[in-house]
Amino acid sequence: MTAEAVRAKKPRQIDDGVIRNLGLVGVLIILVVIGIVTRPELYSDPTWVRNNVLTILQQASAIGVVTVGMTFVIIGGGIDLSVGAIIALSGVWATTLATQSYGAAGMIFTALVVGVAVGVVNGVLISYGRLVPFIATLAMLVSARGLAAQISGKQTQVSANDTINNIASTKLIGIPLLVWMLAAVVAAGWVLLNRTTFGRRTVAVGGNPEAARLAGINVKRHTLMLYALSGLCCGIAAIMLTSQATSAQAAMANLYELDAIAAAIIGGTLLSGGRGTIVGALFGVLVFSTITNLFAINNLSTEVQNMVKGGIIVAAVLIQQFRYRSLTQLLKR
């Protein structure tokens, strides 16, 4: 391809994903503006604003990590309803007295191994047992929460390990460690999806599994790895949440599956697979956590919060679509 040819095609380079993400940035800006308008006295304090941004990011960190894994699974044509349950099982397992006796490293190791192991079971059921992902991971949801309740005796297990507990309160260069962890996972996810053969296979497997198979891709093994990856993300999130709550219990990370799927989809991932972006998923998570923050600073009652939240979600997607359409129009000229 000649240099001219490349330059001539510049406008197309800006792909759908980026434009969609611009839409989500717009939504975020609107949310912040609403915050400023409704609570000017808070927003007039720069320290508060800085803290607030960090709080939003910190609250988004665990679910953000889960959403990265979920985005891979969905792009690869599947779905993982068991993420919340995996977090609970990993967290509970990592905080049993026996595990805690091995110290922070033992706890982290346990959480990650449990996460990956459950993910592998999901993957095997789906790839080799040929179960529909929805059913397999729903069954896992139920079972893993049951096992977590069994292990914890339905008690909240307190973490006595200060290294773990301090993760949530540690800051590096003024930014919470949890936020750094989120950033690292998002960056790794982006590279994995966009710059590696693994990512390319993921898109192929989700976009047209038959074509991928006939092109020599081992679709089953790849699918298995996607669920293992999602499990790994859950293990990481389990550590983050355990540290934040200084404890773990069987009911933790309740309904994270819905939040993660919603964030991924709002971020432009196709529920039927074959398309999606990591950055979009991150924005999706941020939109949700900014909404929650907006409600908190305005002290809306839960029922009003919920009513409004549904509306905001709809509006966000509409705005994003609107921007998407008009921007594509613009770029066409």
């Binding site: 391809m1 047209n208 074509a211 991928a212 006939l214 092109a215």
Partner: protein, 515 residues
């Protein structure tokens, strides 16, 4: 073969029913139609000719109310006409058979035929009467054996094409548009199709017929309109008498003849692929064949004779009930192994089996080879693009843009992407299933050159095609398949079209032998 209307020119005194003037239609980045003129008379077969991407399908979609023209005028039965929806077009009496199959797998044949205008009473479907009507139409189409209540997903591709036609006939149409209806049909089916078309024109129904096979146009067409780059370059040429050179020239701006590259003498070499006694019950039985490096072996046969299944089984995509596939002395048992041994397959159904429609062309072209371009697991899109661009040039991809999503390519250009995937180096054995389906005359010649070139470089090729001349022209050796069995093998130059057709169709050679 003479029939009313097949006079080679416009029926004298027949009135134009459809007239398009300066129709323009743009897509993002493409002017698909750039001032089209078209005139169709009552009771004629009007052929549309043009290269891949010339705008033929777009044109008929404008007529069918799927796309809306940006400018220009359409008049239908003397009235200005701009259908807003497919429904409006149907109501106006225009029925369409689309290039890509547009059936619903989980509905029955009858339900598909009457989809959108079901026979019903108070919202309840009248299953018996619509099945009866469907049976009538199918009988008229020469296929009384297709059960009206069978789910469409259980039909072979050719059967689906028949159902598409049945749907078009189920409307009370004044104009029937057919976009490459013969692409998935074999020889006998095409004859059948032509019989129907003649019936239709005899009733005064106009037909717009799109095909890349000039022979068909000569046989069935009355007049020809040629499109190039979205413009009409010639209108209303007589279909019988216009010289091929002129038609091709108007289409491509060049003069290409329908030529096969010459065969060169080849050294006898040990076969690289050996298939022994391969069987899948109900599909094919006891297939034994061998292909040597540098050799092109063609398999001829009717649609439904089991060639695709045989190819897929050799590739490891289907598990054989018995028999073995050996490549380079090693057994092939799965697709992964096959690809690792250097086997590549271009499957027959581009949309369902080959393409990632939303992904750019270059990623589709490198779907089987991106790992090879990668360094340590990290992909190298620059090299991939460059390689894809080379293939695009080789196959005359239009537009020559490897970054656009495959979805926005015309049917023939999508096919080039499918075949192009396996031309990207490293393949030792190429399995091609209907590689030229929907590809225009010019690109087809280029593709033959490429395949022949690969063979000369030592690649073994196993080719399945429903076009007998293609098999005879391109292959070194021909296998004839009938009802799941390889019944004949001969060097290509010892066979001619009629012999092959006899072998394929007549059961006489194999009396009493079950498939």
């Amino acid at each position: 073969m003479s029939a009313p209307g097949a006079t080679g020119a416009a029926v004298p005194g027949a009135a134009p029913v459809l007239r398009l003037t300066d129709v323009v239609k743009t897509f993002p980045g493409v002017r698909a139609l750039d001032g089209v003129q078209l005139e169709v008379n009552e009771g004629e077969v009007h052929c549309l000719l043009g290269q891949n991407g010339a705008g033929k399908s777009t044109l008929i979609k404008v007529l069918a109310g799927v796309h809306h023209a940006d400018s220009g005028e359409i008049s239908w039965l003397g009235e200005p006409f701009a259908p807003a929806t497919p429904q409006a077009a149907m109501r106006a009496g225009i029925a369409t058979i689309y290039q890509e199959l547009d059936l619903v797998d989980d509905l029955s044949v009858a339900e598909n035929a009457f989809l959108g205008h079901e026979e019903s009473r108070f919202g309840f479907t009248r299953r018996r009467s619509s099945a009866a009507k469907t049976r009538q139409i199918l009988a008229r189409l020469g296929h009384p054996e297709i059960p009206a209540r069978r789910l469409v997903k259980h039909l072979p591709a050719a059967g689906k094409q028949i159902v598409s036609m049945a749907r078009a006939l189920s409307h009370d149409a004044r104009l029937i548009v057919m976009d490459e209806p013969s692409a998935v049909l074999a020889h006998d089916e095409v004859a059948n199709l032509f019989r129907i078309i003649r019936e239709l024109t005899a009733q005064g129904i106009a037909v717009i017929y799109i095909s890349h096979r000039l022979a068909e146009i000569r046989e069935i067409g009355d007049r020809v309109t040629v499109l190039k780059d979205g413009r009409t370059t010639a209108a209303n040429l007589p279909a019988r008498t216009t010289p091929t050179r002129e038609l091709v020239g108007k289409m491509t701006g060049r003069s290409i003849e329908y030529v096969f590259p010459p065969r060169r003498p080849r050294d006898e070499t040990e076969p690289i692929l050996v298939v022994a006694g391969l069987t899948r019950h109900g599909e094919f039985a006891d297939a034994t064949l061998a292909v040597a490096p540098g050799e092109i072996v063609g398999i001829a046969g009717l649609v439904g004779s089991g060639r695709s299944e045989l190819l897929e089984t050799i590739f490891g995509a289907r598990r054989p009930d018995s028999g073995t596939v050996t490549m380079d002395g090693r057994r092939v048992t799965g697709v992964g192994g096959a690809v690792a041994r250097g086997i590549g397959m271009a499957p027959e159904e581009r949309k369902s089996q080959a393409l990632l429609l939303d992904e750019p062309v270059y990623k589709n072209m490198t779907l089987a080879s991106f790992s090879g371009f990668a360094h340590g697991g990290f992909t190298d899109t620059r090299d991939e693009r460059a390689a894809a661009l080379k293939t695009a040039d080789l196959l005359e991809l239009r537009p020559r843009d490897v970054d656009r999503p495959v979805r926005t390519l015309s049917g023939g250009n999508q096919q080039k992407v499918v075949v192009g995937r396996w031309l990207l180096g490293g393949t030792k054995l190429l399995l091609l299933d209907e590689p030229t389906r929907g590809v225009d005359v010019g690109a087809r010649a280029e593709l033959y050159q490429v395949i022949r070139g690969l063979a000369e470089d030592g690649v073994a090729v196993l080719l399945v095609s429903s076009e007998v001349p293609e098999v005879l022209g391109l292959a070194d050796r021909v296998l004839v398949m009938r009802e799941g069995r390889l019944i004949h093998e001969a060097p290509a130059d010892e066979l001619d079209e009629d012999t092959v057709l006899d072998l394929v169709m007549a059961g006489s050679l194999l009396e009493g032998e079950p498939a």
